[in-house]
């Protein structure tokens, strides 16, 4: 991870020929009681790409992300991550998934009783069984990557929203995941704090991290994402490189969504 070394605009990542996509979502459906949220969603995400999922509230984009990370049980279809089937009922598969996928939430979800350093090292010591010294070293390194090297001893309540979210990203990053999921990570932030979080995400994308984000930041998605997926009524309505998608929407729904200025 050499975020600071990378410079210039990011070349669009090309999928490695012949390699299996890192995430394969196939005909997934999901209902909450009588309410069907996902209607046969299929989506493939290539290694090293940033995929931005956009759409209106209630279009199922956050639910899809939560299904990929086994936070919600799916009712139909299959999800494969890093070649393994995701199943909430299979403990071993969930355990493997947790080691491969990191997730960042809208509400940060930092642990309020632990300082920044311990927030990051908790899983390193408890899950990865690293020594306290190794864990601390990793924590300091990832804090450096998100520009918060001086906040190791601070407690979450002492951080601004933007700082808290960067710590949350660092916390996921520390576990060296193969994929990072971002669930509306800037939606709770003031506009002036959004930039510092997006900057970190852009740096990660430039370094080749595979990222899936649910976002309302259309300008960011347009500029940084490799693929933009537009979800509507629980389906993948349109998907493609942002340049094409934004310039030439094929469906009236996407056209309307883009013109609504979200």
């Amino acid at each position: 991870m050499s975020v600071n070394e990378a410079a210039g605009t990011r070349p669009r990542n090309e999928a490695v020929p012949g390699a299996e996509p890192i995430i394969v979502v196939d005909s997934v459906s999901k209902s909450f009681g009588p309410l069907q949220v996902l209607h046969g969603v299929s989506l493939e995400i290539e290694r090293g790409t940033m995929v931005a999922i956009v759409g209106r509230s209630g279009s199922g984009k956050s639910t899809l992300l939560r299904c990929i990370n086994a936070l919600e049980e799916i009712n139909g279809g299959t999800i494969k991550v890093c070649g393994h089937m995701v199943s909430m009922s299979d403990r071993a598969s969930v355990k493997r998934l947790r080691s491969e996928v990191g997730m960042v939430f809208q509400s940060y979800n930092l642990f309020p009783h632990l300082n920044v350093l311990r927030n990051i090292t908790l899983a390193l010591t408890a899950v990865q069984k690293k020594s306290r010294a190794d864990a601390d070293a990793i924590a300091h390194k990832v804090l450096g990557l998100v520009g918060l090297a001086d906040k190791a001893e601070a407690f979450p309540e002492q951080l601004s929203g933007g700082q808290a979210q960067r710590v949350a990203i660092a916390r996921s990053l520390a576990l060296s995941p193969k994929v990072l999921l971002f669930d509306e990570v800037t939606s709770a932030l003031d506009p002036e704090l959004t930039g510092e979080v997006l900057k970190v995400m852009e740096d990660l994308a430039r370094d080749g991290m595979t990222m899936v984000l649910v976002t309302h930041e259309m300008a960011f998605a347009r500029r940084v994402a490799d693929i933009v997926v537009f979800m509507h009524q629980g389906k993948v309505w349109e998907a493609g490189p942002p340049a094409e998608l934004f310039a030439d929407p094929k469906t009236p729904e996407l056209r309307q969504f883009l013109s609504s200025g979200l």
Binding site: N69, L71, K95, R98, S99, V101, G102, M103, F105, S107, N109, L110, F111, P112, H113, L114, N115, L122, A123, A126, V127, Q128, E153, F155, E157, Q158, A168, R171, S172, L175
Partner: protein, 226 residues
């Protein structure tokens, strides 16, 4: 105006008895708090858990204890249990009754703490790969107890003060000692004023000790002075 001349001269000979009583109260209350905390913790875990039957049973225990007088609970343990063959000293009966009592009150306090933990915290911990036990310990139990620790401390100080009721079964503690001294000196006013002052000092002592335990146990409290 009634005239009453205070006479504290009996203190010269009875002071050691007061001190013995105070020490006995510290032991009685300290033991009851230590055991009562674990009873409260376990009851809170069961009460907020998924097992409906166990949770219901704990719920009945909590409500019965919170809606009956402590003195009656003490009498049941000390005078009632021997009828079914469980004989014990007054001090043991006192500890058992106080543990049962504070376990019920304490468990409700801790349960409130457990239920105040946001669901997002659990999801974040799960996503980091922590197993169920680790999530429960690191993300639920420790922060929950930290959050309600001030309320818990007050409950424990209250328990120490309530322990004076166990003088009714002649458990050895401060109030029982005072009753004895009073019956020998007939200086009721002075004796109970002194006892009140000693209880006040014990309350301060318990609060200081409980505060110190909190400082050691909870890093955030120490660092942020919250």
């Amino acid at each position: 105006m009634l005239s009453y001349s205070f006479d504290f001269s009996f203190l010269l000979t009875t002071w050691p008895a007061f001190m013995r009583g105070a020490w006995q109260t510290i032991l009685l209350a300290g033991t009851s708090i230590a055991i009562g905390f674990f009873v409260a913790l376990i009851c809170a875990i069961i009460r907020s858990g998924k097992n409906k039957l166990a949770s219901g049973l704990v719920g009945v225990y909590v409500e019965v204890i919170r809606n009956t007088p402590l003195l009656v609970q003490i009498f049941i343990v000390y005078f009632g249990l021997p009828s079914i063959g469980l004989r014990m000293s007054a001090e043991t009966a006192a500890v058992i009754a106080l543990v049962i009592n504070t376990g019920a009150y304490g468990s409700e306090i801790i349960r409130a703490g457990i239920e105040s933990i946001a669901k997002g915290q659990l999801e974040a911990a799960e996503c980091l790969g922590l197993n169920k036990f680790q999530v429960y310990w690191h993300i639920i139990l420790i922060p929950a107890v930290e959050r309600v620790y001030p309320a818990l401390s007050s409950q424990f100080v209250l328990l120490m003060l309530s322990s004076s009721i166990t003088s009714q079964i002649s458990a050895q503690e401060l109030t029982a000692e005072a009753n004895l001294i009073q019956s020998e000196t007939f200086r009721s006013f002075e004796v109970y004023l002194i006892v009140a002052a000693i209880y006040l000092a014990l309350s301060v002592l318990f609060r200081v000790v409980l505060w110190a335990i909190g400082e050691v146990a909870f890093v955030r409290r120490r660092k942020l002075r919250t």
